[in-house]
Amino acid sequence: MQHQLAWHARGASKPSLSSTALNPSISRPTAIHARPALTSLAPLSASSRGSRPIVAAAAESAAQQPAAATQPSSSDAAQKAAKVLEKATPKQKEWYAVVAYAEFFFNDPQNESLAEQLRERVRYFKEINREIDFYIVPEPRWLDQKYPEQAKMVRRPCAAIMSTDKSWITFMKLRLDRVLRFDLGPIPDSEALAVGGKLPEFKKPEKWTAPYPGYTPGWWEKFIPQ
C-alpha cells in the first residue's frame, strides 16, 4: 500500500518490471517525450496501435519522471541550461486529458458511470489523504490554442476530463473509448485548467430506457476549477 502511494505522490504510474528489464533505456529519456504535443493524439498516432514497439511504451513511462520531460535538446550545454532553468522556476506538473462533446460525458445514460467514478475517487482520496488531482474543464482553452487541428474534430460545447495522473487518464480513455486523449506535457496549472466556456443546460435524452431517473444535472459543477 505504501509503495503504491509513493508512486502516486509523484504523479507517475509504476513502470512494469517487465518493460524495465527489456529496456535498459528506460532511465534515459528519448526524443519522444521531449515534445509531448506531437505524440499526444492517441487515437490517431501510431503510439496507440497494437503494433507499437515496447520501447515506446517504456519511453512513455520514463517520460513520467518529471525531470526528463523538460529537456528539449541532447547537447550538454542545453541540458545544463535546462537544469538551471528548472531550478529557477517552480516545477510544472504534467497534465493529461480526454476530450469529447459535453453531451457524451454528461447527458448519455451510458456514461453516467462517470459520476459514480468521480464520486468514488473523491471518497477514496479523502480516505488516503490524497489531494484531488482531477478536474472537469468545460471548453478547455488549451484545446484551440495548442491543438487547432484536433480541436476541429470535437463537437461543441465540449469538455475535458483532466488529471496529472497519467495512468488514470489512460484508464479513462480505455473506459470511455470515444474520446480524444491529450498528453499536454508540463504546463502551468492555470493554463491546463483555464475554462473557455460554460456547459449548457442539457435536454433530457429522447430515449430514456432506465428504470430510474438520471443523476441530477450539475453534479459536475464541483469538479470544475474555480
Binding site: M1, Q4, W7, S13, K14, P15, S16, L17, S18, S19, L22, A42, P43, L44, S48, R49, G50, S51, R52, P53, I54, A57, E60, S61, V99, A100, Y101, F104, P109, Q110, S113, E116, Q117, E120, R121, Y124, E127, M153, V154, R155, C158, S167, W168, T170, F171, L174, R175, D177, R178, V179, L180, K207, T209, A210, P211, Y212, P213
Partner: protein
C-alpha cells in the same frame, strides 16, 4: 429448463448464470460429461436434511448447492498454456502494455477495501423476509455467490499461472480474485443470515468445471462483468429512489460493489485490445454477436422466469431487463467488432416471443404425463424458439469496436 437442456444438445446452448453474471455456454468439452455432473454436488456423506422451504442441507446451516443446470452459474477452466503464450512478453514483445499497466494501478488503489463491512441490520432484515420472497431471495443469493466465487477461482488460478510470463497481468488477475472473494464472502455471509450458507471449499472440489479456450474466456467474462455492472447499478438506483422496496441491506452496497464489476470488464477490454487477432476478423465478428446474444437471451429468459423476485423489489422485470441489455450492448460495442442491434424494435419483439414460448415449454414440464410425451409436446415449441434465435443472430448487426483500432468509426468526438 428442460428446454434449455434440449438446446444445449443442439449446441446453441443458452445458459444463464446468476443474479449478477450471465455467461453463455459454448459447445464446450464438458457437455458430453453432463450426465456425470448432476450427482456430484449432492454426493455429501450425511443424509440430506430438508428445511421448511424445501432447501436441502448438507449439515446444519450449510445449504447443499442447488442442482446444476443450464441456468446455474458455472465454474470455468481454460487452456493455461495458451494463456501463458498469449501474455508472454518474450513471445509477444509488442504486447500493448500501457492500458494493462493503467488497469493494474486502478486495481491497486483498492477503492473498496473498507466497503464490505456488515452491520447488525442484516440479520434482522433477513428474519423479516418471509413467505414466497424468502425462497426466491435465497436462490438469488446462491446464484450470485456461486458466480462471484467462480470468478474468484478462475482469476486466482490465472494470477498464479501467469506470474512468470507476465507479472502485470498476473497481478491484475490476483487483485480481481481479491474483489471476487470479497463479493462471494459477503454474499455467503448474507446467506448465513438466512441460516443457509454454502460450503465453498466443498464446491471447489466437487463442482464440474467447464472448459473454455482463452478467447472465449475473454469474450464471456468481459460480457458477464459488464452486464453485472448494469444489473447491479440499475437495481441500486431504482432502490435508491424507492427505499420502501429495500427489503434487505445488501442492495445498499451495490453502487460501490458494481464499480468493481465495471473495472473488471475494462480489464478485459484492455486484454482484447492487446490481442487484436480476437477482434479483427470475420470469426471475431460472429463470436462477438454469438456471445452477446447468448448472454442477453439467457438473462432475459431466466429473469422472466423469476419475475416475482424483481417485482418484490418493485421493478418491472421486462423494463429492467431491456434497459440492462441496451446499455450493456453499448458498453460492449466499445470493443467487440460487431454487436446485435438491440434498438431495432424487432429485437425485443423476438425476445418477447422467446419468453412466451419458453413459458409454454416450462408449463409442459409441470404436466402430469410421461416424459416421452412431454418431449413430443415440446418439440414444435423448441423448433420455433430456435427459429427466432437464428433470426436474431442473422438480423443486421451494428458495426462496433474501439476507435483505437478503427479510427474510421468516429471522426467527430
Amino acid at each position: 429448463m428442460a428446454l434449455l437442456g434440449g438446446m444445449q444438445r443442439q449446441q446453441l446452448s443458452l445458459r444463464t448464470a446468476s443474479g449478477s453474471k450471465a455467461v453463455p455456454a459454448l459447445p464446450a468439452r464438458s457437455v458430453s460429461r453432463r450426465s456425470a455432473v448432476r450427482c456430484n454436488a449432492a454426493a455429501a456423506n450425511a443424509p440430506a436434511q430438508t428445511d421448511e422451504l424445501g432447501f436441502k442441507k448438507m449439515r446444519e446451516g450449510i445449504k447443499e448447492a442447488g442442482e446444476e443446470s443450464i441456468l446455474t452459474p458455472r465454474f470455468y477452466t481454460t487452456d493455461f498454456d495458451e494463456m501463458e503464450q498469449l501474455f508472454s512478453l518474450e513471445k509477444n514483445p509488442n504486447l500493448k502494455l500501457d492500458e494493462l499497466e493503467a488497469m493494474l494501478n486502478e486495481f491497486k488503489q483498492d477503492y473498496n477495501q473498507k466497503h464490505f463491512v456488515r452491520n447488525e441490520s442484516f440479520k434482522k432484515a433477513a428474519d423479516n423476509v418471509q413467505g414466497p420472497a424468502r425462497k426466491i431471495f435465497i436462490e438469488f443469493l446462491e446464484r450470485s455467490c456461486t458466480a462471484e466465487f467462480s470468478g474468484f477461482l478462475l482469476y486466482k488460478e490465472l494470477g498464479r499461472r501467469l506470474k512468470k510470463t507476465n507479472p502485470v497481468v498476473a497481478e491484475i488477475f490476483t487483485l480481481m480474485s481479491r474483489d471476487e472473494a470479497r463479493h462471494a464472502g459477503f454474499l455467503n455471509k448474507a446467506m448465513s443470515d438466512f441460516n443457509l450458507a454454502l460450503d465453498l471449499g466443498f464446491l471447489t472440489r466437487n463442482r464440474k468445471y467447464t472448459f473454455f479456450k482463452p478467447k472465449f474466456i475473454f469474450y464471456a467474462t468481459f460480457l458477464s462483468e459488464k452486464i453485472g455492472y448494469w444489473r447491479y447499478i440499475s437495481i441500486y438506483r431504482h432502490l435508491q429512489r424507492n427505499p420502501e422496496n429495500q427489503m434487505y441491506p445488501l442492495f445498499e452496497y451495490f453502487e460501490n460493489w458494481c464499480q468493481d464489476e465495471n473495472r473488471h470488464g475494462d480489464f478485459f477490454t484492455a486484454v482484447l485490445k492487446s490481442q487484436p487477432q480476437f477482434l479483427d476478423d470475420w470469426k471475431a465478428k460472429l463470436w462477438s454477436r454469438f456471445f452477446c446474444l447468448s448472454v442477453y437471451i439467457t438473462m432475459y429468459l431466466n429473469d422472466h422466469q423469476r419475475t416475482a423476485f424483481y417485482e418484490s423489489l418493485g421493478l418491472n422485470t421486462r423494463h429492467f431487463n431491456q434497459h440492462v441489455i441496451i446499455e450493456t450492448n453499448k458498453s460492449v460495442a466499445r470493443v467487440f467488432p460487431q454487436v446485435p442491434d438491440c434498438e431495432n424494435p424487432e429485437f425485443f419483439e423476438r425476445m418477447n416471443t422467446l419468453v412466451d414460448l419458453n413459458q409454454k415449454v416450462a408449463a409442459i414440464g409441470n404436466l402430469n404425463v410421461p416424459s416421452p410425451v412431454k418431449t413430443v409436446l415440446r418439440a414444435p415449441l423448441i423448433e420455433r424458439m430456435l427459429k427466432e434465435i437464428t433470426q436474431l443472430f442473422f438480423s443486421a448487426p451494428m458495426r462496433a469496436g474501439t476507435v483505437d483500432l478503427n479510427p474510421a468509426l468516429q471522426s467527430v468526438y
